[in-house]
């Protein structure tokens, strides 16, 4: 094994060095402004909630690109933070990572005999890979063909309080990790100054995985839809709206666990290729209604992205 792994490792290093060398020689950041999208809360390139077929960063088909993001979502009863990085390789492959922190703040846990649920900071890591298969969202203006990409997101929820509480209350076996599979189609209608995206995601997640995966009311993959429409006001400014369906596998009426679809309206500003700012108003629907004063979680979304 050792004898084999050393040459394999060397070959890997040489390959990566070669790729980086080729890409560096081809320069940086020559994709057109805004054509890398922004960062979703799951770390991949897209809108704020919906993952798109675009590859992160400003690298062309001969270049590397990368982004980092910090996003805050302040909901009525909860807070969500997301930090992450994405790398675009030759405008073909995207590798992404995001760490999500979900703060339960002052939820109404005492009535349930679970004070540990208050001010609990739940963490989830999302590892993603996306591959562009067909089409080009930007250049194929003479064709109906969108840019199509497929991807996988592996989600590792590090929670040791909420999921055990739910499993105790429901007598269930909610998992703390899961894998989503998606196919995304993105098209820029440049002569209309409009960008449209549609994504189909197969998932077992409850509330994006923040409440784990599978549950008493389902343990198989369900298809969910992510749709976005953006209107370009200027080359550096877009406004739009998104919908993301989610059902989850928790329907317990006593704890008000059923989920609603998520919506947002956003404005994204790209002052340069190295920075973008996205502000949105989101409605994520009910999230464990028994713990909250509001039966729908709405609030502001603010995201900063840096990259090249």
């Amino acid at each position: 094994m050792r004898m084999k792994s050393v040459p394999a490792c060397l070959a890997g290093v040489i390959l990566v060095t070669g790729l980086v060398g080729t890409a560096t020689a081809a320069g940086f950041s020559n994709k057109l402004l805004a054509t890398g999208g922004v960062s979703t809360v799951e770390g991949s390139a897209g809108g704020g909630l919906a993952t798109w077929a675009l590859i992160a960063g400003y690298g062309t088909d001969e270049q590397l690109g990368a982004t980092v993001h910090a996003t805050g979502v302040n909901l009525d009863d909860y807070e969500l933070r997301s930090y992450g990085v994405a790398i675009g390789i030759f405008d073909r492959v995207e590798l992404s990572f995001a760490r999500q922190k979900f703060n339960t703040q002052s939820v109404l846990s005492n009535g349930l005999g679970a004070p540990a649920l208050q001010n609990y900071k739940l963490e989830q890591d999302v590892f993603g890979i996306k591959v562009r298969l067909l089409g080009d969202a930007i250049y194929d203006q003479d064709s109906w063909m969108p840019q199509i990409a497929v991807g996988i997101q592996y989600k590792d929820n590090k929670d040791d309080t909420v999921i055990p509480f739910l499993n105790g209350a429901l007598g269930s076996n909610i998992k703390d990790s899961g894998t989503d599979f998606y196919i995304a189609a993105t098209k820029l209608y440049l002569d209309q100054s409009v960008l449209v995206n549609a994504t189909l995601r197969l998932t077992k997640a409850n509330q994006f995985g923040l409440l784990g995966f599978e549950g008493p009311d389902g343990d198989s993959y369900q298809p969910e839809f992510e749709g976005s429409i953006a209107y370009l006001l200027r080359k550096d400014l877009a406004v739009g709206a998104e919908i993301r369906t989610k059902r989850g596998n928790l329907d317990n009426p006593g704890l008000n666990l059923s989920e609603d679809n998520a919506y947002d309206v956003f404005v994204a500003y790209f002052p340069t290729k190295n920075i973008s700012i996205t502000a949105a108003y989101v409605d994520l629907g009910q999230i464990v209604g028994a713990l909250t004063q509001n039966d729908s979680q709405r609030g502001g979304f603010l995201s900063l992205q840096l990259g090249f």
């Binding site: 209309q192 429409i229 709206a241």
Partner: protein, 151 residues
């Protein structure tokens, strides 16, 4: 909570649905004028095309233009204005060779193609061409990347 809490989701859902059905006019309302007229007609197009070609000659990414002298640049402007006119319904006939022939051997990369587009955008901005009219022209030019790349 009150039903009005759901106004955002209703609004977003309706907008997405209506736009997908084509019921919201996402495009420009087509007035009598052509896209050529929206660009500003021959005078404005000549102005921004001259500006764009000058920017291309100074752009370090566009090594192909390093040797372009003033006479050659002037011929290129005339050629491009006719092309833009033909592409945007200005009633011109496309003058010369097609894109594949015109760029044979140029070996244009995506980065260089985008540099052409960005300089053209800057030039159109400088000439106060409305953003939507710019995009109508760029939509006609974008597919040419396929013909110009690596040939």
């Amino acid at each position: 909570m009150l039903k009005s809490d759901y106004s955002l989701r209703r609004m977003v859902a309706s907008a997405l649905l209506l736009s997908s059905l084509g019921l919201i006019p996402t495009g420009a309302v087509h007035a009598a004028g052509s896209d050529w007229e929206a660009l500003g007609g021959r005078d404005v197009v000549t102005t921004f095309t001259t500006d764009a070609v000058n920017r291309w000659r100074k752009n370090p990414v566009l090594v192909q233009f390093a040797q372009t002298d003033d006479a050659k640049a002037a011929r290129l402007v005339v050629f491009l204005v006719e092309q833009f006119c033909a592409e945007t319904g200005g009633g011109c006939t496309y003058p010369g060779k097609n894109m594949t022939e015109a760029h044979a051997g140029m070996n244009i990369t995506t980065a260089q193609f985008n540099a052409l587009a960005e300089d053209l955008q800057f030039a159109m901005d400088a000439a106060n061409v409305p953003f939507r009219a710019q995009n109508k022209l760029l939509a006609k030019l974008a597919p040419m990347l396929k013909d110009m790349k690596g040939r």
